[in-house]
Amino acid sequence: MIKFILGRLSYLIPTFIGITIVAFGFVRILPGDPVLLMAGERGMTPEHYADMMQRLGFDRPIWQQYLEYLWKLLHGNFGDSIVTKQPVLSDFLTLFPATLELAFCAIIIAVVIGVPVGVLAALKRGSWFDQTTMTAALVGYSMPIFWWGLLLIIFFSGILGWTPVSGRISLLYYFPTPTGFMLIDSLLSGQKGAFASAASHLVLPSIVLATIPLAVIARQTRSAMLEVLGEDYVRTARAKGLSPRRVVGVHALRNAMIPVITTIGLQVGVLMAGAILTETIFSWPGIGKWMVDSISRRDYPVVQSGLLLIAGIVMIVNLVVDLLYGLINPRIRHS
């Protein structure tokens, strides 16, 4: 097992270097630069432009900038935003809990609903339940997130008044946020109603963010289940008189979960992408919104380090998924 873990870890180093190159190069390939955008309609004299580029260090050869970036990274320095002048890492750490809280709730919703629905649909293949849920999953999968979020806001917040429109907690509550997770901080604050307010603010954005992963997980579970249910060992288990619950729950589901766990792991990347839109609609102060703003301002240090940090997290999640694989399926561990 240790060899397996070390093997997987060794992949991380070249991936890490690859990501720094992509993240560094990506934002510089985009046309335009931060100084031009700062100048706006007024424009600036070529001398002032050159002066600004030099002050920000963008006048040097690109390889030199890259090496310097890498050097700083190795010393734990992720750089400072050109716009807010704040260290990128501290901004990331401030904002990331909000995204994590949202993504966590979304993935819980997606798994808790998606897996049972997929299993049931597979067991009742061809039934109305199967057809309805799988059609719904197809619709969910192709849902334009922005439109869907707005629709839910208008219906549940605007017309019914059940949920708040946006934000993380009612503005009446004001307390320190040591963990950055509003659900936890609201409990710690001891203010009456704070937790309920934080939870109610999470409902709509979590549903919106969960929509696509839920659809994918439900469909994947169904097809994996169908495949497994047709296997010989399942027939054998049935033949030897095991209860249907045991056959499905232990023999079939455990094997069907392997591709499902892969899918769930891959959905973390999808969640990060979905967070960009979801956070924008629900004024959710997370890293998705932060990245969008920084890209549009061409805030190079934020974009390159932000991408690196996000990619790092996705990488770690994928590693954990790989390791989980090993736990569930000994064949992978030994191969």
């Binding site: 424009g43 401030t94 934000g167 503005l171 001891g190």
Partner: protein, 531 residues
């Protein structure tokens, strides 16, 4: 014990919320996050609303709802006869805000004023680079670096600015956000503690509200400044709930999660107007959108060609289709709310037949041209691509083939300044300080060629009028000069003037005392909220 304390604290909060001593809180659904809280390095209105308009004050201020200058931190001023010396008498007893991170030991004085400008203009000032790479775009952009010769302390409450040449708009520049007065004592303290960067995160000013907390990208909290030198704010707490999506802002306003919001989406305006719980304020924005021909490139160097194209384009149709009624047709380079607007000027009529004839007279046949459409929405232009398409269709009617091109915004801004640029550019401007010079001199002067003068247009008579107007501080005289300049502008037609957009501000009926600023800033110092 801890639990008991917590419960006590919680019940105190609830009692405050429920009881008669409830603090008056106004929630403003702001459209974006501030870049920082020091106004000097930034140029975005969103940043200024959250910093200079709430926390800081300036030597002179724009009277609410106007661009007229009134005393601010300076209670009076004199301008020397040669227009070179501006002497400001400071208001005595003005206190900087006391917060949990700073307690001032002295009142505002001349040192603070000098420091506020010197740190921006003087590269040797130790605070000039208080965070590495910081630059002062407005200070340089408005030309203060070359305009100001010296700033001197006459006594503790008197400051004298000496200019290199007379410049009438200078006074209006001092009312702008970048000219906010900061505390030298606070800056020195931070510098000594090695925490200079906090100057941008934990602001100290003399304005109506003081900073309490900023939760990044989510909420900014302020409270009324008990030591404010002006009329004390009516509300106790001011909260900015950062809500970037316009449709979501509108929903929050309807749900009373905030009581006032800027920049509604054009599609939401009718619905918001119809809501009985809301009031919609509107006023023409201090802006202009234009199509700038490159007057240095044939055939656009011929005024007849420019006039013909102007006559071929149906501007009212653009206002109807693109602005959905939220704008008015522009005929002058400055908006009608600005002093010296020349209403006697007749716009080029929409007349495709005459346009065709005029093109023929100019000997131009089979004209191919480019129209540049901006890739972004701006306050003066909600959809440049659609506008360009309508222009393209109108031009086709007089036999002109137009191709629409666009670039990424930064590239667009840069490429459009090129003197040899191929094509006419859609762009616009929002005024900074309400002075006509801030439109005509920035956008149409000879020294703006290759820069902000996208028409690359230099007219000696026009320029002479601008120069003369900038050199005199008599407003009546300046008005006459700018009116004449607008006549020349119309005759020479370096632009097709497109529109001045309307600015809307929906708010709850409970909000009173809000006054819209023609400069587009948002100020809550006089606002009250009724229950």
């Amino acid at each position: 014990m801890k639990l008991r304390n917590t419960l006590l604290a919680a019940s105190a909060v609830m009692a405050m919320l429920a009881g008669g001593v409830q603090a008056k809180t106004l929630v403003y659904c702001s459209e974006g996050s501030p870049e920082g809280f020091d106004p000097a390095p930034y140029t975005a209105g969103t940043t200024f609303d959250a910093s200079s308009r709430t926390i800081y004050s300036r030597l002179v201020e724009f009277a609410p709802g106007t661009t007229n200058l009134v005393p601010g931190l300076a209670e009076s001023w004199t301008i020397s006869d040669d227009g070179l010396e501006y002497t400001f008498k400071l208001r005595p007893g003005v206190k900087f805000q006391t917060t949990d991170y700073f307690t001032p030991t002295r009142d505002l004085n001349a040192d603070d004023v000098i420091f506020s400008f010197d740190r921006q203009g003087n590269k040797d000032n130790p605070f000039n680079q208080y965070v590495p790479g910081v630059s002062y775009e407005y200070y340089t952009g408005m030309g203060l670096d070359s305009m100001i010769k010296s700033i001197e302390k006459v006594d503790d409450l008197t400051v004298k600015f000496t200019l290199n040449a007379p410049n009438a708009p200078f006074l209006a520049d001092l009312g702008m956000d970048f000219a906010s007065i900061v505390s030298k004592e606070y800056a020195d303290k931070l510098m000594a503690e090695g925490k200079a960067a906090d100057f941008n995160n934990q602001p100290i000013g003399t304005g109506p509200f003081q900073f309490v907390a900023y939760q990044k990208d989510a909420v900014i909290r302020y409270k009324a400044n008990p030591d404010y030198f002006g009329t004390k704010p009516h509300i106790d707490d001011l909260v900015f709930a950062i809500t970037t999506d316009a449709a979501v802002r509108a929903q929050k306003l309807r749900a009373n999660e905030c009581q006032i919001m800027p920049y509604p989406a054009p599609a939401d305006i009718d619905g918001l107007k119809a809501d009985p719980n809301l009031t919609m304020m509107e006023q023409p924005g201090l802006n202009v959108a234009y199509l700038a021909y490159n007057t240095q490139v044939a055939p656009f160097d011929d005024v007849r060609v420019r006039k013909a194209l102007n006559m071929a384009i149906n501007k009212q149709a653009i206002i109807d289709a693109v602005f959905q009624g939220t704008g008015i047709v522009a005929k002058n380079p400055i908006p009608p709310t600005m002093w010296s607007y020349n209403d006697a000027i007749k716009d080029d009529p929409y007349d495709p037949e005459a346009a065709k004839q005029m093109l023929a007279d100019a000997g131009v046949t089979d004209l191919h041209m480019k129209i540049w459409a901006m890739p972004v929405q701006r306050p003066y232009m909600p959809n440049a691509r659609r506008t360009a398409e309508l222009m393209q269709a109108d031009l086709a009617k007089i036999g002109v083939t137009a191709d629409i091109v666009s670039y990424e915004w930064g590239e667009y801004l840069k490429k459009s300044t090129d003197v040899n640029r191929d094509g006419a550019v859609i762009l616009g401007w929002t005024g900074d300080n309400g002075d006509p010079d801030n439109f005509m001199n920035v956008l149409l002067s000879c020294n703006g060629i290759g820069g902000s003068n996208r028409a690359q247009w230099c007219d000696k008579d026009f320029q002479a009028l601008l120069d003369k107007a900038a050199a005199t501080s008599d407003v009546a005289e300046r008005t006459k000069l700018y009116e004449q300049a607008q006549v020349i502008f119309k005759e020479q037609a370096p632009w097709l003037t497109i529109d001045h957009s309307t600015v809307f501000m929906p708010m709850s009926n409970k909000v009173t005392g809000y006054v819209m600023s023609p400069l587009g800033s948002h100020d809550f110092s006089n606002v009250d909220i009724t229950e």
